[in-house]
Symmetry: C2
Subunit: 182 residues, 2 copies
């Protein structure tokens, strides 16, 4: 139900084709929402039928033709309504937490490499966020409201990664302590 809204926001920020949307969902938007191209194409067709978005056929040279979508008036009002109605707090699904509790019934040392791997990928993501922040939101610059809001979402991502790194260190310390005295 909410993929529609994420697509509307993305199309308001910049109109684009289904393919382009899929890549955005792999990159920046994918930080807080994921979707495959299958889902996106299906939802785009429904949204067009419902009059939320309008498509323009773009004939391309050397590449397949594409349909570039933009948000219609109905789409804007759907988004505006959604903004004003409460959403439920996100339901978290944290596989690593399940694994950590599972380690109590197995060898805690067997988890160390997995946790280390996660730690590395979170560290890499933090680096990407920080360099993206420096590039897109230079300190002291006057930012448009749209950019200020994008920035505060990015700051959330940065703090999430920092918190996660510290926690994974805590997890690793715990696993090592439990491994040393079997």
């Amino acid at each position: 139900m909410a993929l529609e809204h994420a697509i509307l926001v993305s199309l308001l920020e910049q109109p684009g084709s289904g393919y382009e949307l899929a890549r955005r969902f792999d990159r920046s938007i994918g930080r807080f929402w994921t979707a495959t191209h299958q889902q996106i194409y299906r939802v785009l067709r429904r949204m067009e039928t419902d009059g939320w978005i309008v498509a323009e056929e773009i004939v391309q040279d050397g590449k397949p033709d594409k349909k570039v979508y933009a948000v219609a008036r109905d789409g804007r009002s759907v988004l505006s309504d959604w903004l004003r109605e409460p959403v439920e707090p996100e339901t978290v699904r944290h596989e690593l937490a399940v694994k950590i509790r599972a380690a109590a019934f197995d060898d805690p040392a067997a988890l160390v490499s997995e946790v280390t791997r996660h730690r590395e990928s979170h560290a890499a993501l933090l680096e990407r966020y920080l360099s993206g922040e420096q590039r897109d939101f230079p300190a002291g610059a006057e930012l448009e409201p749209q950019q200020q809001l994008q920035h505060v979402v990015l700051r959330g991502g940065i703090e999430y990664e920092r918190m996660t790194l510290a926690w994974l260190d805590d997890v690793l310390t715990t696993l090592h302590r439990l491994s040393r005295r079997p």
Copy 2:
């Protein structure tokens, strides 16, 4: 694919019926995994068929009979295998982040009450975590490995809530700044 593993962990920590599992998923386990009773009953039947768990019929007085499940040898080895194979980093779906970016195309002030509501529910959850920590993991006590691992997962939840509260304050500051000068 992973609900099975969460159920196995929960049944290893304490055998129980589908109904009891559903309540655990509403409470403690629900912090890092969610499931409805429908899903749980369906998966339990499949797991029993596959020999991962065994059921014992408990005839009760005044209440409906129930089937109490416990993990079988096959279930333990399934869990052990899963522990050793890498899981993908969680895919995040953060509706509030979508709303914040959507506010750029609407009135940012319209989001204030929604963000405040989220802030309150995260603050309440943090309080519950902290009192649960005091109750279950008193400082200085000698803890079993199982409890140490449960504690480190809970610490993750606590740090997540603290980080989220600070971020939501940042979001509210940004929304107010954008609202004051329209």
